[in-house]
């Protein structure tokens, strides 16, 4: 099973000065985090496009292109690209460039994104939300299928046999559909023949099992090959040496982030009590010791059959050293435990 990290490029607080780092430094921190993730053997790093002063990773492909030059094996992905407010031609060109520079390690996850800051920034209307997403996804998939593209729609000028380059050596880029769990999105992924990536940020992740089944059924009915029917999961997570310390260390950052988002969206920040519930057992926050997190990933794998699980760790001003330590523990401690448990499970006779 693949394990990894995703980030929105959140500003870290410098523990010495007590100040938040600059957005430029946050960008360099993000590159360092990708390099460390690759070094410790993680499989995946995703950057979620955001356009806020607190989360300045607005140009994911540019950061990933830099990462391509300083990493060896890790998949370099968007998680997600806010496709509705971007030009699919440009998105493809940028990620195909990352793919070339990384020798075939680029992926795109296309999604709506949970924030809508990019709509006014690029001059789009939220009233066109559904149409923009559907059309731009259609165009992106058309570009991925053929170098020369003929396409017309209402959200972008038409293309007539237009070459879109560079082309990936593998022929096409892996493009995932990102969703927060609306059932129709799982259907859409299956109908489009795409792998699906679930962002699960609350509730009990195992409750996504019916959605994965919905996706797989739709994909099979649509004629997708079994090997292409893939599910990945992104979750908030943080790993420390022991469970209690991890939960105590992560709490102020989680509370801080939820407080900021809550004040923007009109809900109260979570109480410690509900945090402790969410950060254990079957909850959505994968915060704990390497052993706890490995066990929870394996348990969720039993419910969802996902082939990749990646974690957002850098919430609410988390110092860079803390983030890097958590990434290191995910690679060096959690991954071997997960591999071992899944190998053991696979080795057992059926019905055991």
């Amino acid at each position: 099973m693949e394990l990894g990290v995703y980030s929105f490029g959140s500003l870290a607080r410098d523990p010495q000065s007590g100040e938040l780092v600059s957005s430029a430094q946050a960008t360099r921190n993000l590159l360092e985090a990708i390099r460390v993730a690759d070094e410790v053997g993680l499989d995946y790093f995703g950057i979620g496009e955001h356009h806020t002063p607190e989360m300045p990773a607005s140009a994911a492909a540019t950061i990933l292109a830099a990462a391509a030059s300083v990493t060896e094996n890790i998949t370099l992905a968007s998680a997600v690209t806010v496709l509705s407010t971007d030009d699919p031609v440009r998105v493809f060109q940028q990620f195909a460039t990352v793919d070339a520079l990384s020798n075939g390690r680029a992926e795109i996850t296309a999604g709506r994104g949970s924030s809508t800051d990019s709509f006014p920034l690029f001059g789009y209307s939220l009233g066109d939300y559904d149409k923009l997403y559907a059309e731009k996804l259609d165009l992106l998939l058309a570009i991925n299928a053929n170098q020369n593209v003929t396409w017309s729609g209402s959200t972008r000028p038409a293309l007539h046999d237009a070459p879109v380059v560079p082309r990936p050596d593998a022929g096409s880029l892996p493009i995932w559909l990102g969703t927060g769990g609306n059932p129709s999105s799982s259907v859409r992924a299956g109908l489009l023949g795409l792998p699906v990536s679930y962002g699960i940020i609350g509730g009990a992740p195992a409750r996504f099992a019916p959605l994965t089944e919905l996706y797989r059924n739709t994909a099979r009915a649509n004629g997708m090959a079994e090997a292409d029917i893939k599910v990945s999961v992104g979750s908030p997570g943080f790993i420390g040496e022991d469970g209690k310390t991890a939960r105590d260390d992560f709490w102020p950052h989680w509370h801080n982030t939820m407080g900021v988002i809550g004040s923007q969206r009109g809900f109260a920040a979570p109480a410690r009590l509900s945090y402790d519930r969410d950060a254990s057992g079957t909850g959505a926050l994968f915060v704990g010791s390497p052993e706890e997190i490995a066990e929870r990933i394996v348990a969720l794998h039993g419910a969802l059959g996902h082939m990749r699980h990646f974690f957002q760790m850098d919430f609410g001003d988390m110092p860079q050293a803390q983030l890097l330590r958590s990434i290191e523990l995910l690679g060096t401690r959690v991954k071997p435990l997960v591999d071992e448990a899944l190998a053991e499970a696979a080795g057992q006779p059926t019905g055991a």
Binding site: S114, S115, T116, F119, S125, L126, G127, G180, G181, N182, P183, S184, V187, R188, G190, L191, G202, G203, A204, R207, P210, L211, E213, L214, N217, T218, A221, G262, Q264, R265, G266, F267, A268, A271, S274, A284
Partner: protein, 215 residues
């Protein structure tokens, strides 16, 4: 056993539908226009419920949950729901929804549910189930009398409709707090203290009353 209609099979609609099935109600779920594989969606995400048309729901449902995003409440035709009890579970979240068409030229003093009521004047609208997240719906329901039972408010201009919705809430696992008129439901909106917070009956009533006293 009652028949419950659910308009919208998204995250909120399917969560409420599951609670209603668990409570033993018959549940009819109506798709968004153009939805594909809808019977499959219902079969897997709300086992026991049935995919239905708006007309079937209008004929059969004791109450109907309007579980579509606030920006899309004007796309649902409720002509056949005259006098029917309709629960508005939507919220206007400007950072996410922007300014949808329903708000253009609207009186800024009105709550989102009052706008929904004006849009659909024939229905008996009850604001409820908007102030807790869909994740919480799956996890926070509890049997009547449980010490940690979460409370959910109802607000509507028809006392009998409020009572019907309150009884539904009790069946699906929540203590109902009747705030009275639809306009009183303004205290349940995003940005208010009740929104998104785990509250029990007394606390919900106190928070709602406090807001009214301060106003």
């Amino acid at each position: 056993m009652a028949t419950i209609g659910i308009i919208g099979a998204g995250k909120v609609g399917t969560a409420i539908a599951r609670l209603a099935i668990a409570a033993g109600d018959e549940v009819l779920v109506v798709a968004s226009p153009g939805a594909q594989y809808f019977e499959q969606i219902v079969a897997l995400t709300v086992p026991g419920a049935r995919a239905a048309t708006l007309g079937e729901v209008a004929d059969a449902a004791e109450l109907t949950i309007l579980a579509v995003p606030f920006g899309k409440v004007d796309t649902v035709s409720l002509n056949r729901f005259n006098d029917a009890i309709v629960v508005d579970a939507s919220n206007h979240w400007e950072p996410v929804d922007g300014i949808p068409a329903i708000l253009h030229g609207a009186d800024p003093g009105l709550s989102s549910s009052e706008l929904v009521q004006r849009l659909h004047p024939g229905v008996r609208l009850v604001k409820s189930l908007n102030h807790l997240g869909y994740h919480d719906m799956d996890t926070d329901g509890a049997p009547a009398g449980a010490a940690n039972r979460r409370a959910v408010a109802v607000a509507g201009d028809h006392a009998a409709a409020n009572s019907t919705v309150a009884a539904f809430l009790d069946r699906i696992g929540f203590d109902a707090v009747d705030l009275g008129a639809l306009a009183a439901g303004a205290v349940l909106q995003p940005g208010e203290q009740i929104f998104g917070r785990f509250v029990q009956r007394e606390e919900l009533a106190a928070l709602a009353a406090g807001r009214e006293l301060a106003a």
